[in-house]
């Protein structure tokens, strides 16, 4: 072992110039356990790629048919012949991990083939059993380390859990927002709907009718959660599971790439596909995802701590100027981001690359451990958290943090877009979070509508909203609103006509002349807004491609034209990328995107994890605005998208009109439970 360690250090020495005793992490596990851990990641990675187009979930109970198709073993070709596979050598996803885990290179192709040639479930149990194997030799030391590590993770996790009061007050705020929105924008729509429905004698309970679907969703998730009951999991102790996940996470972040010209993976950092595979693996191991997030923060912080230590040891004056020079020299952030940094100094100190804050986030957490596990245990835990840092690329993937995203503000000048800015929201900034969420509003009446729909959400991602083209968006939203409050519309709605209008549109039948006239009213503004959303999508893609978000997996959520921005972004990525390196999850709500005209399949491939299309079958505002001939081609915001791997979710019951997305998005996201690997949403109609 010792010999290998030294080798290891040598090959990762270039990582941020650090040569710490990083490799101790891997010695937490025996060689056999590391082999098994590598195998499990490979299996998860391949399964994740399969699930891109063939999602698992409650409606496909255990998917026996697919099993038969893929499992006759002999019938699958070898992985080596298919470079598009995530487990193939050129993807650059597995071999660096194997190298980090010090798995002998002669075993690599066997692992890749195993993962790629047969369904994961045939092998997962066996590898878990291998993992459960008792440590031989220095077992007491290893189990002490495992204990310390799992305690540290638990402490971190508890510190990340939101206090109920704060979320309560947030919800209160959100209710206020909802009330405001309703007063401001949906009077006509809702009232007339109410009138219409009372006229039709079908009174629906409105505001609190959401409780039912929530319960359904919980039921749904529980039945889906045990989709993969693996008995061997019970053989594994909790501490072993945590250790395995921690080591694998470190391996995914580690900078152990060898220069490989063949490789298709373009960047260092945290690959979205790795994160999806880890999410599946955590599901298999029955470890809560928030604990993985705790581990991510630990790895990130310890890597940053190390980077900082090196920095201060380099006898440089500690002015922020030289810090930035250093980051820049390292090629970590571009010039645009540098400018963004100075801008950020005004908006609250995001500029300093999360280092200091990230450290202070970790330090007290580890501090609280001392009473729990004793001083020596603390040393072990701190060591455990810290040892990984040396070879980890986190600091590189991450250094520019918020500054990077806000720096991309500069890009708009090239993009023919008047406004394109990221604004940081939520409490997760400077906390060493290793995943980013970008939320994009579409229908906005006021600048605050870019932010407030997203405020309550309480996940653990570093969250940003994209403020874009507010002038045009407000114009089109207001035009729609004005039309809705117009006498004609109210009259139509009172007659209950609107609900049937949509089906008429969908059937591509002739439009009622009154409607055509009405739609002309908003047409020109709408056309501009759609055009801008396409351009903003391209800009967003450029931002992601440049890695200004810090090469971290991104979750994109958007409603209305915001969803279109995201979709266009994915399409643009598909023209430039061959794989789902950047985007982890996507949620499109009420999306004005044609179904048949657009390359949904290509867009799907750009998303490593779940891609949700939330639609409302009676969102006739969207249908009206989007009309044109395109409607006959299908519209994602009002009907399911029949493309494999797209998770279609019917939110008709939660949406009263298109403007409801302003306040209902939050609730829909909760029902989707994005931290679950499998599709979750009661009543969703997935198509395959």
């Amino acid at each position: 072992m010792g010999r290998r360690h030294r080798l290891k250090v040598a090959c990762s020495a270039q990582a941020l110039g650090s040569t710490s005793n990083a490799m101790a992490t891997t010695s937490f596990l025996t060689p056999t356990q590391r082999y098994a851990a590598g195998a499990l990641l490979a299996l998860a990675l391949h399964q994740a790629q399969i699930n891109q187009t063939r999602p698992l979930g409650g409606s496909f109970p255990d998917d026996e048919t697919s099993d038969d198709r893929t499992s006759s073993g002999s019938s699958a070709d070898s992985v080596a012949d298919d470079p598009d596979l995530w487990v193939h050598e050129v993807s650059g996803l597995l071999r660096p991990v194997f190298r980090f885990l010090e798995i002998d290179s002669v075993a690599w192709s066997g692992l890749e083939e195993t993962a790629g040639s047969s369904p994961a479930k045939h092998h997962v149990g066996a590898f878990l059993r291998l993992l459960a194997e008792e440590n031989d030799g220095n077992s007491s030391q290893n189990s002490d380390q495992e204990l310390a590590l799992s305690k540290a993770v638990d402490a971190m996790w508890r510190s990340m859990e939101k206090s109920p009061e704060s979320s309560e007050s947030k919800k209160e705020k959100h209710r206020e927002y909802e009330t405001e929105c309703r007063e401001k924008c949906s009077t006509a729509e809702v009232q007339s709907n109410l009138e219409a429905s009372s006229a039709n004698m079908e009174v629906q309970p409105k505001t609190e009718g959401n409780i039912l679907p929530l319960e359904d969703a919980v039921d749904g998730s529980s039945s889906k959660g045990d989709e993969n009951p693996i008995e061997e999991v019970t053989m594994l102790g909790y501490q072993r599971k945590v250790t395995v996940l921690y080591v694998l996470l470190s391996a995914c972040l580690a900078d152990t790439h060898e220069d490989n010209k063949k490789g298709t993976r373009k960047r260092k950092g945290y690959d979205a596909r790795h994160r999806v595979a880890l999410r599946l693996l955590a599901t298999w191991l029955d470890v809560k995802w928030i604990k993985m997030e705790a581990m991510e923060t630990m790895v990130a912080c310890s890597a940053m701590a190390l980077a900082k230590k090196e920095e201060s040891s380099e006898e440089q004056p500690q002015s922020s100027n030289t810090k930035w020079a250093k980051w820049k020299r390292g090629g970590i952030i571009g010039a645009a981001a540098l400018t963004g940094g100075t801008l950020l100094a005004v908006t609250g100190g995001l500029a300093a690359p999360a280092i200091a804050a990230g450290l202070s986030a970790l330090a007290p957490t580890l501090g609280t451990l001392i009473p729990v596990i004793g001083a020596s245990g603390f040393a072990a835990a701190a060591g455990a958290a810290g040892t990984v840092a040396g070879s980890v690329a986190v600091a590189a993937s991450f250094g520019a943090a918020g500054a990077g995203l806000t720096g991309s503000k500069m890009a708009r000048r090239t993009g023919n877009v008047d406004e394109f800015e990221f604004r940081a929201i939520g409490e997760n900034h400077n906390q060493g979070r290793l995943a980013v969420e970008i939320m994009i509003s579409g229908l906005v009446f006021d600048e605050e509508d870019f932010v407030r729909p997203w405020e309550v959400q309480s996940d653990n991602l570093e969250r940003y909203v994209l403020q874009w083209e507010s002038k045009n968006l407000i114009a089109v939203s207001t035009a729609i609103q004005d039309w809705l409050t117009s006498r004609l519309a109210i009259e139509l709605m009172t007659r209950g006509a609107m609900m049937t209008v949509l089906s008429t549109l969908m059937a591509a039948l002739a439009w009622p002349a009154t409607l055509i006239a009405a739609a002309d009213f908003i047409d020109s503004k709408w056309t501009i807004a759609v055009d801008r959303s396409d351009k903003a999508g391209k800009l967003l893609a450029e931002v992601l491609l440049k890695g200004v978000h810090g090469n971290r997996p991104v979750t994109l959520v958007g409603y209305s034209l915001g969803a279109r921005v995201i979709f266009k972004c994915l399409q643009f990525l598909a023209e430039n990328e061959n794989n789902a390196e950047l985007v982890e999850r996507v949620v499109l709500l009420g999306a004005p995107i044609s179904i048949k005209d657009e390359k949904w399949g290509a867009a799907r491939k750009m998303v490593a994890g779940r891609l949700v299309n939330a639609y409302s079958t009676n969102d006739w505002t969207l249908g009206l605005a989007f009309r044109a001939s395109l409607l006959s081609q299908g519209l994602a915001g009002i009907q399911p998208v029949d493309v494999p791997g797209i998770e279609n979710v019917d939110v008709t019951d939660l949406i009263e009109g298109h403007s409801s997305y302003l306040w209902a998005t939050q609730h829909i996201i909760e029902l989707l439970d994005l931290d679950t690997y499998y599709p979750v949403f009661r009543g969703s109609k997935r198509i395959e």
Binding site: T32, R54, S74, S78, V106, G110
Partner: protein, 210 residues
């Protein structure tokens, strides 16, 4: 049996599995077959995989050969590789009797338990016949055991390459003779879950064929 030159095209794809105690020479046998070389190998970790393209009986074949670790600690792993194998090669060392007896006591039972292919062809291979002076398991014993469990039998040496090609060729010929196995391995059944097109010919296989 000649090595096929065109790797991308083949009529059948067969999955073969090699089992047996640690140190009997499974990996050496495979290496001898796939690359005509012999060297001292360290014990296999988990499972190894090699591809070999061959022409047998006028058919182009792609052999996907899984070489499992004989070591006890990896045994739990091996079980999941029996699934779908058309041929299983049981290897023992003619100079170590326990490797022979373990075949009946352990490995034959594993096959019973885990193999999903009723008709799958089994082959008993006595390796290391180059060490004739150290031999403790006679050829007669091998033949008898092979008859008992209804499998093919051959003695060979990975080191001198005696009978190595024949070993695989006989196994493959027998598979070709078995219609139910052929149906499994034919191209028509081949499924790529991501796309239904044949493997690209411009991608040279990284496996150690030729």
């Amino acid at each position: 049996m000649e090595t096929s030159s065109n790797q991308a095209e083949f009529d059948y794809l067969f999955k073969l599995l090699m089992i047996g105690d640690s140190g009997v020479g499974k990996s050496s046998l495979l290496l001898s077959f796939t690359s005509d070389t012999f060297e001292d190998l360290s014990p296999t970790i988990g499972v190894d995989f090699k591809v070999k393209y061959v022409n047998v009986g006028g058919k182009k074949l792609k052999l996907a050969i899984w070489d499992t670790a004989g070591q006890e600690r990896f045994r739990t792993l091996t079980s999941s590789y029996y699934r779908g194998a058309q041929g299983i090669i049981m290897v023992y060392d003619v100079t170590r009797r326990e490797t022979f007896t373990n075949l009946s006591e352990i490995w034959a039972k594993e096959i019973e338990l885990y193999s999903t292919n009723q008709d799958c062809i089994k082959m008993l291979v006595g390796n290391k016949v180059d060490k004739e002076s150290d031999r403790v398991v006679t050829k007669k014993e091998g033949i008898n055991f092979a008859r008992e469990c209804g499998c093919l039998f051959i003695e060979c040496s990975a080191k001198t390459r005696v009978n190595v090609q024949q070993c695989f060729e006989e196994l493959v010929l027998k598979i070709l003779d078995t219609p139910s196995l052929l149906a499994d391995g034919s191209r028509g059944v081949k499924k790529n879950i991501f796309k239904e097109r044949p493997p690209q010919s411009d991608i040279a296989s990284t496996s150690s064929c030729c």
